[in-house]
């Protein structure tokens, strides 16, 4: 008289698919929050005001300026000069690629192309 059994099967399939994040997390374990991120040490500062949000754009701008336009002039922040470079700039302070890049990038599944050419610090 009606298609109730078929409809219920379809509904269950949709509900199982819709709740995928819950049972996936259940299967993978509840320990889902990552370790603390690397924080800047006292007295030091980054060349950027908000590096977490905007580092990718600065790196891109630096690449364009240095590699494509040949403008290798150093930038000056608080009277201190820095190279516009990943290897000679950022990695001079943040030496560990694992702590400084990979931890968040892997956690948030943001893939990056830097290491296709650049080498990380020693041992990487």
């Amino acid at each position: 008289m009606n298609d109730k059994p078929k409809i219920i099967v379809g509904l269950v399939v949709v509900l199982v698919a819709a709740t995928f994040p819950f049972w996936y997390t259940l299967a993978k374990g509840r320990d889902v929050l990552p370790e603390d991120r690397e924080r800047p040490s006292e007295g030091s500062r980054c060349v950027m005001d908000d590096p977490v949000a905007n580092h990718m754009q600065v790196l891109n701008t630096w690449r364009d300026e240095v590699v494509r336009e040949g403008d290798t002039e150093q930038i000056k922040v608080d009277g201190k000069k820095y190279h516009k470079s990943l290897t000679d700039g950022c990695l001079q302070c943040h030496s560990s690629r694992e702590d400084h890049c990979d931890r968040c990038h892997e956690y948030a599944n943001v893939e990056l192309t830097c290491w296709e050419c650049h080498l990380g610090s020693k041992g990487d």
Partner: protein, 331 residues
């Protein structure tokens, strides 16, 4: 008027959601409301679909424009005019996955001031395909925030979606298609007087809601870049029932605006036209095979009728019939 009410409603809801960025409000907007919305969404979907499931299935309605299967030398069109369950599934799949009905959209035009001409109008189909498929891919892509570790298929989809490698962070193809599709579907309603006349607030509100979600999502990724690690902590905390108040505080009000609109969408889904997502599977003219003539269909709710055939009638009244001179078959 319907347009302005819907726009104001979505704008107001977004602003309400940004309150989640205020100190301590993260628990309400980042934990309580999302669970409530998922609960209402799932509960509402079950209620809605079960209310349909109780309705008796009508007799098969062969609204088709293809040749029915009959004699072996007459070529039939099984997808247009399915004759069994399998081909009906085929027609259903084309409808659900590729919105075949929308391709039948036509436009009537008077040319030379006297000739009425019907032409194909595929833009509705194109806009709908762009919007719906992008929406699905965007939903699956968001699993990178809700699942840890991220399943490989999500990473694959993300890579394929961003293959143009334009901008940094990379602009996804589906982001553009989603917003463009929505913009077209909205412009179409607004531009045509006939469509505007039949459009209700319930038609504009979902469009603005999706636009609000899409634009705030684009904003979070490309303009005011959100703290993605905190956002993932909030999201994965929701799917694993373990919460981190630092992450809830760090997620930012724009993120809460985005999340609140998604919560509104989830709770609104089953009670609106958006439930066509489930309803399309129950379209009687699409999901039943046209076997009206090849298979005998007995009305399932026929009850046994009490009949009184002539021979029994004669047995009952024979003597009276004879007395009245009425001829009888058996003496």
């Amino acid at each position: 008027m319907n347009v302005l009410i819907s726009l104001a409603a979505v704008g107001g809801l977004f602003l309400l959601g940004t309150l989640g960025g205020a100190p301590g409000m993260g628990w309400i907007f980042g934990v309580v409301l999302p669970y409530l919305a998922v609960g209402i969404g799932i509960g509402g979907l079950i209620w809605r679909v079960m209310s349909w499931a109780n309705v008796p299935v009508p007799f098969r309605i062969p609204t088709t424009c293809g040749q029915q299967k009959s004699l072996p030398w007459i070529k039939s069109n099984p997808l247009e005019n399915p004759h069994n369950g399998l081909t009906a599934v085929g027609r259903m799949a084309l409808e659900v996955l590729f919105f075949r009905s929308l391709l039948r959209n036509t436009k009537a035009e008077v040319i030379d001031q006297r000739r009425l001409v019907y032409t194909s109008a595929p833009w509705l189909w194109i806009g709908a395909m762009a919007f719906h498929w992008s929406f699905l891919i965007i939903l699956v892509r968001h699993l990178r925030l809700l699942a840890n570790p991220v399943p490989w298929c999500v990473t694959f989809l993300q890579r394929a979606d961003g293959f143009l490698e334009i901008g940094l962070p990379v602009i996804y193809v589906t982001t553009v298609l989603f917003l463009a599709g929505l913009a077209y579907l909205l412009a179409r309603r607004l531009a045509s007087p006939q469509l505007r006349y039949i459009s209700l607030a319930g038609d504009y509100f979902p469009l603005f809601l999706f636009l609000g979600i899409g634009i705030s999502g684009f904003w979070l990724r490309h303009w005011t870049k959100t703290d993605i690690v905190s956002v993932k902590q909030v999201a994965v905390g929701l799917s694993g029932f373990s919460f981190d108040s630092d992450a809830l505080a760090a997620a930012g009000s724009l993120f809460y605006g985005h999340l609140f609109l998604v919560c509104v969408l989830l709770a609104y889904f089953p009670f609106s036209k958006l439930s066509h997502f489930a309803g399309v599977f129950l379209s009687p003219t699409r999901n039943m095979a046209n076997s009206n003539r090849s298979v005998r269909h007995v009305n399932p709710w026929d009850y046994p009728v009490k009949v009184h055939p002539y021979d029994e009638y004669e047995d009952e009244f024979r003597e009276k019939m004879k007395g009245a001179g009425v001829p009888v078959e058996k003496e």
